[in-house]
């Protein structure tokens, strides 16, 4: 997916909506900052997510970080492949490194998500 066509949460998740199905991943910046990933935990199909609430954990050698859902809805598919091959997250965070497909109850993305330009500014303003 083209990173410029995606929406971003302040907590570094990206989301793209196709019909009522949202695809969720982690931004390239966040993956680069984490480095040395060792573990990811994703919810399975059927799990209800709430926008702004944690849906899983990603761990690197340095730290464990919660991931927050940018949307409210129900998980229809999680990317089980990356659980055993975290390298994909680094090499293709916007493609094969997607995390979840979620059926969005509202049929649209919530307000308050950022476009790429705003997210880049948001990232740069934080200390890393």
């Amino acid at each position: 997916m083209d990173p410029h066509s995606l929406k971003y949460a302040g907590t570094d998740e990206w989301v793209s909506l196709d019909g009522e199905i949202a695809t969720i991943g982690i931004s390239d910046f966040a993956i680069q900052a984490l480095t040395d990933l060792v573990f990811i935990e994703l919810p399975g199909a059927g799990k209800k997510l709430e926008a702004g609430k944690p849906f899983g954990v990603v761990e690197s050698v340095k730290a464990a970080s919660d991931m927050y859902s940018p949307v409210s809805g129900e998980v229809v598919e999680s990317n089980v492949r990356i659980v055993d091959d975290l390298g994909v997250l680094s090499t293709d965070p916007f493609g094969d490194g997607w995390l979840l497909k979620v059926k969005v109850a509202a049929g649209k993305l919530p307000d308050g998500l950022m476009d790429r330009a705003a997210y880049e500014k948001h990232w740069a303003a934080r200390e890393h």
Partner: protein, 365 residues
């Protein structure tokens, strides 16, 4: 204002991810902790450790005074010999873990960056009866560690002492790239290698020479991140994690650095009592069944019984397993004991394993 080592600008220019460590602005990693870790295990890694405190002791009572301060036997050190020891308070609590070096005209005490000011104050408090001069060389001297199976061959052309002929835990004054310094066969990675002290004025030139000459051999600049994963695989304790003022060296499993019968020292009486009546706590290694990392503070359980806490944990790049060190109840500390660790609310299976997690195959002595 954070303290900077003589190679600080180099670290920043080479994408070091800088963090505050005991008041020093130090690189955690340049590329990846795992890549730097592997470089040390398979080739060589170059560490800026100039934040470590370096204290020089001279004068007629230097040996006697150090024997008061340190749990290991200082008077028994041979020329050039280095020993690991602890500085303990009257209760036997650990104020710091240190290396003591004996040279011809002086002794060197290398202390943790986080404890340097505390140890300097401790020295001031106890030196009155001794004729001793204590100089803090930390700001005027640079210190680096070159670690890994290729470390000695990379260092050798730059020094006038025979490194391969130098035994482990031995050091010597040496001419390093034309300048007087100190070289020792020591380290904190579980790998062979050396540590070198030189005047700050020549630090950067030496650092760049090693980086340039080592590149073909696979040498990488290595940050504090992999220093931690390397020492953890080697089960070396880290002050502030496995060691603190509420823990004594015997409980910490460091009896090899405590010589109760060699001499008197501050804390000896307390340690004699603890030895006679050991605390019901042991430092152990844990290996987790899954990949999640049991980090400092995580609670260890045996069934529903809380038996201890994790002090350090990481994902071991060498073993490809999640490992941790913990203090647990002595009756649950036998190798093979099945336990669980609470990782962010989830009970993860683990078992007690033998330390160290990693030992290099050819120990050269």
């Amino acid at each position: 204002m954070p303290l900077h080592t003589a190679c600080h600008a180099w670290h920043v220019a080479h994408h070091g991810r800088m963090v505050d460590f005991a008041g020093w602005d130090m690189p955690v990693q340049y590329s990846s902790i795992v890549a730097e870790h592997q470089a040390v295990r398979t080739a060589a890694g170059l560490f800026d450790i100039a934040h470590m405190g370096r204290l020089k002791f001279s004068g007629p009572d230097a040996t006697k005074f150090l024997d008061q301060l340190v749990t290991n036997d200082v008077a028994g050190l041979e020329l050039g010999q280095i020993r690991y020891g602890l500085v303990t308070n009257e209760q036997g609590g650990i104020l710091d873990d240190v290396l003591v070096y004996r040279f011809a005209d002086f002794h060197l005490l290398v202390v943790n960056a986080s404890n340097r000011l505390k140890i300097l104050a401790w020295i001031e408090q106890h030196r009155a009866k001794f004729q001793v001069t204590v100089e803090d060389l930390t700001a005027s001297q640079f210190m680096f560690a070159l670690q890994g199976p290729r470390a000695l061959e990379l260092m050798q052309p730059l020094v006038d002492v025979d490194l391969a002929g130098m035994k482990y835990y031995v050091g010597a004054p040496a001419i390093v790239q034309g300048v007087p310094g100190l070289v020792s066969r020591t380290g904190y990675t579980g790998e062979d290698g050396c540590e070198v002290i030189v005047p700050v004025a020549v630090a950067l030139r030496l650092w760049e020479t090693l980086i340039e000459r080592g590149a073909a051999a696979g040498l990488l600049a290595a940050g504090l991140g992999c220093r931690d994963t390397l020492r953890l695989e080697a089960a070396m304790p880290l002050y502030g994690h496995e060691l603190n003022e509420t823990i004594d060296p015997l409980t910490a499993g460091l009896a090899f650095g405590v010589k109760l019968n060699a001499k008197d020292f501050i804390g000896r009486a307390a340690l004699v009592a603890i030895k006679a009546n050991p605390k019901p706590l042991r430092r152990v290694g844990l290996e987790l069944a899954g990949k999640r990392i049991a980090r400092e503070g995580a609670v260890v359980f045996s069934g529903d019984r809380e038996i201890g806490n994790v002090t350090s944990g990481t994902f071991s790049p060498t073993l490809q397993k999640s490992i941790a060190m913990a203090y647990v109840a002595a009756d649950q500390s036998t190798v093979g004991t099945e336990v669980t660790v609470d990782i962010r609310g989830s009970r993860e299976a683990a078992k007690v394993v033998k330390l160290p997690f990693y030992k290099r195959s050819q120990v050269q002595v």
